[in-house]
């Protein structure tokens, strides 16, 4: 593999990442999804430039790459906000009022599920059963779990992140 000895530009970085990941998975069958997982894990999301490079490196059409990305909700083509709030909409959480928690978040953040606030601070997401139904209803912020929520907790949680890291 050709490593870039000169100062890497943003583009080289992406090139390098894609090449490296594809090379490592090349031997295995059905490698596209594992490749996308790893790139997203490291790059955060899968913009068009990356999709192009993956298609080229793997010798498949860009349509195939995009077809897979658009099929699976886990793959994102846009970057997420600084804090990803994910509300569990599993059955146990729903029965215990997760719907109202989600409504409250939508109202406070002025976004729909899947959107990011204008300042780039929060992305609101839904997920399904986090496996801690004993704490239902549950939400996570960048993976940190908040359980046994009431609607009022939403304010406290949002405040704690707004005060942290200088978000207006």
């Amino acid at each position: 593999m050709n490593t870039n000895a000169n100062q890497p530009t943003k583009n080289d970085e992406k090139n390098f990442l894609v090449k490296e990941v594809v090379a490592r998975h090349q031997h295995s069958k059905g490698a596209l999804i594992p490749v996308l997982h790893e790139i997203q894990e490291r790059y955060g999301y899968l913009p068009v430039e990356i999709q192009e490079k993956v298609a080229k490196e793997m010798n498949i059409s860009q349509a195939e790459v995009f077809g897979v990305i658009s099929f699976y909700s886990h793959f994102a083509t846009k970057p997420a906000g600084k804090y990803r709030i994910s509300v569990c909409m599993g059955t146990a959480c729903y029965v215990k009022g997760a719907g109202s928690v989600l409504d409250k978040l939508k109202e406070k953040l002025h976004v729909k599920v899947g959107q990011t606030t204008e300042d780039g601070a929060f992305t609101l997401e839904e997920c399904r059963c986090l496996g801690c139904c004993g704490l239902a209803p549950v939400l996570t912020v960048n993976g940190k779990v908040y359980g046994r929520l009431t609607i009022e907790d939403v304010d406290t949680i949002l405040e704690s992140y707004k005060n942290d890291g200088g978000i207006a």
């Binding site: 897979v68 886990h74 004993g134």
Partner: protein, 598 residues
């Protein structure tokens, strides 16, 4: 090997980790060193004990004392009292437990008494990251027996005789599936494990992977030997990071020990496996879609036949089994098919794990013999409904299943009885609902799920489920017509008949079953514009009952949108402005004298 006088088991399952069990372990380790007890007492991070409601859970052996809801700040007291002075910290015991003669054992707790743990046998018992602990509990013994004493067809015969049926939903006999694949003449076959766990209220497969990953590896090697496959895939949800990590560690350890590879235990048998991550598509739990996804494509289902046992992954004969199904395999080989078949009902043998959640006191994982009644699960093991509320229904089978109403609470649970009631076993989510849960809303919840997850390949599923959801939405907003109910039933019949895969074929079940048992609730929404459970927001209006109101002002103070006005000082009655009210229910919860009605 070092000998310890005592072991402290701390749950490292997802539920307890979420309430900081890792920090408890850190603190324990630190204090044990401080008190110079670290050579005598060992802390072990295990998988899930099942009693998630009371987490984080910590159990001390040899005495078997179970501590619940342990906090980091409790650790010092525990070390001082229990470990040094030998006195139980009673305030941290589970509520239902009796302390007799200063002794209390986990087995006596009402939550565990009626359970029979086979698939979950090692969860909460061993450290899942150490292969030696699995081996110490008879791990890989079934594999040795299979490879050295049994022929492939004997293994298949044993599984058939045990009566084991798939735990992933369908309940297809596992032995017959294996037999079908074994008969195929092909130089390449595959074994797959379904750990996609799509039911949004179930987490048993995750707990087995987190708490006992080697049992799945062992079973897959046995399956490979039985059908003549030398490679396997475990398809795991991407949302299960702890499970993936522990399974990866387990695979590496198994390779190191020669339990995976080209010459397993010197027998010349070859098998290896790898993990593939799902990417958030529910339909990929369906067997043909799962295989398409492993192939690296859009996970759309294929028409069957041909069945995967004939033409599966890359058109090669493939078997797919659920995690819990596989977890039973080693035990069946070790203890014999008769032992397994002695448990359960006529057509459903063995045990089933359920994830009980919702309006129940002991949320968690339970494993019970097939044929246990719903009443035993909910009241004896689950500890009943919180707040003295009334049990209304239990939902099983997730988005493909239905509700079991209170009138059938004494039904013994098995594959057949649940189907008869219009539900299904599914993978084992069991959500308890009380009088405050609206059944129309629950049906809508599941329909929203299927609309979201329909892959779009076939029209009845894609458009039909959307149409049903729109009707339900109208009904919950009080804009339904009586004729909508007939339309729902017609649509349901058509979608069931015409959909390509089981996702669509079962999608109408949540509606059909709630219509069957709770038709009056649908009618109340339509005719009286009333939600009997008081849950559908559009049909609610929060009002202050003047004679009950003590004018404390708590409602107005807590209202997030200032919809409530009134004054304590000036004796102005409190009222809710319905135009401003967002129906969040905070006033209802805050009122100390129940003066707010909905």
């Amino acid at each position: 090997m070092q000998f310890f006088r005592s072991h402290i088991l701390v749950c490292g399952g997802t539920g307890c980790t979420s309430s900081d069990s890792a920090k408890i372990i850190e603190e324990l380790d630190k204090l044990l060193v401080d008190k110079k007890l670290d050579k005598e007492i060992k802390v072990v991070q295990t998988g899930c004990f099942g009693l998630c409601e009371q987490g984080p859970i910590m159990v001390v052996y040899p005495e078997g004392t179970m501590y619940c809801k342990v906090k980091v700040t409790d650790v010092a007291e525990f070390v001082e009292e229990h470990l040094i002075k030998g006195r139980i910290v009673t305030r941290l015991l589970e509520k239902s437990s009796d302390v007799k003669d200063g002794e209390y054992a986990i087995e006596k707790s009402s939550f565990f008494k009626k359970q029979l743990r086979i698939a979950l046998r090692n969860c909460g018992v061993i450290n899942p990251e150490l292969i030696d602990e699995y081996i110490a509990f008879d791990g890989y013994k079934a594999l040795i027996k299979a490879l050295t004493e049994m022929k492939p067809d004997e293994i298949i015969e044993t599984i058939k005789k045990s009566g084991l049926r798939g735990r992933g939903g369908g309940g297809y006999p596992t032995g017959s599936k294996w037999e079908f694949a074994a008969k195929q003449d092909n130089d390449q076959k595959y074994v797959c494990c379904n750990a996609d766990e799509g039911d949004p209220g179930a987490f048993m497969d995750r707990s087995v992977l987190e708490g006992d990953p080697h049992s799945i590896i062992e079973a897959m090697i046995i399956a490979g030997y039985a059908i003549g496959a030398n490679y396997g895939f475990v398809y795991v949800r991407a949302e299960y990071p702890i499970a993936v990590k522990r399974l990866q560690i387990a695979i590496e350890q198994a390779r190191e020990y020669g339990l995976l590879g080209d010459n397993i235990l010197g027998t010349g048998v070859k098998f290896d496996l790898e993990i593939r991550l799902g990417a958030g598509a529910f339909v990929c739990g369906e067997e043909t879609a799962l295989m398409t996804s492993i192939e690296g494509k859009r996970g759309e289902p294929r028409v069957r036949p041909p069945y995967p046992a004939e033409k599966g992954l890359w058109q090669k004969p493939t078997i797919l089994n659920n995690v819990e199904t596989l977890a039973n395999i080693p035990m069946i080989l070790l203890k014999g098919p008769e032992w397994f078949a002695s448990m359960g009902t006529e057509k459903s043998k063995g045990t089933k794990v359920f994830a009980i959640g919702g309006k129940i006191n002991n949320t968690g994982l339970v494993e019970i013999p097939m044929g246990t009644t719903l009443r035993e699960v909910i009241y004896d093991i689950g500890g009943g409904i919180p707040g003295g509320k009334k049990f209304k229904a239990a939902q099983t089978g997730g988005p493909s299943g239905g509700c079991i109403p209170a009138s059938h609470i004494d039904t013994p649970i098995d594959y057949e009885s649940l189907i008869e009631l219009g539900s299904m076993m599914g993978s084992g989510g069991l959500i308890v609902m009380d009088e405050d849960t609206c059944m129309v809303d629950i049906a809508k919840f599941f329909l929203e799920f299927t609309v979201d997850e329909s892959c779009g390949k076939c029209t009845p599923c894609r458009l039909g489920t959307r149409r049903m959801m729109e009707i339900l939405d109208k009904i919950t907003k009080g804009r339904g017509k009586m004729s909508d109910l007939d339309e729902l039933e017609t649509l349901a019949r058509d979608i069931k008949a015409a959909s390509l895969c089981a996702l669509g074929q079962t999608a109408p079940n949540p509606i059909l079953s709630t219509l069957r048992y709770f038709r009056d609730e649908y009618e109340a929404h339509i005719r009286d514009h009333r939600c009997p459970a008081g849950s559908c927001k559009s049909l609610l209006s929060y009002e202050v009952t003047e004679d009950k109101c003590i004018r404390c002002g708590l409602c107005a103070k807590n209202c997030p949108v200032n919809a409530i006005t009134g004054s304590k000082k000036d004796e102005i009655p409190f009222v809710v402005d319905q135009d401003i009210c967002i129906k969040c229910g905070v006033c209802y919860q805050k009122c100390p004298v129940d003066a707010i009605t909905k």
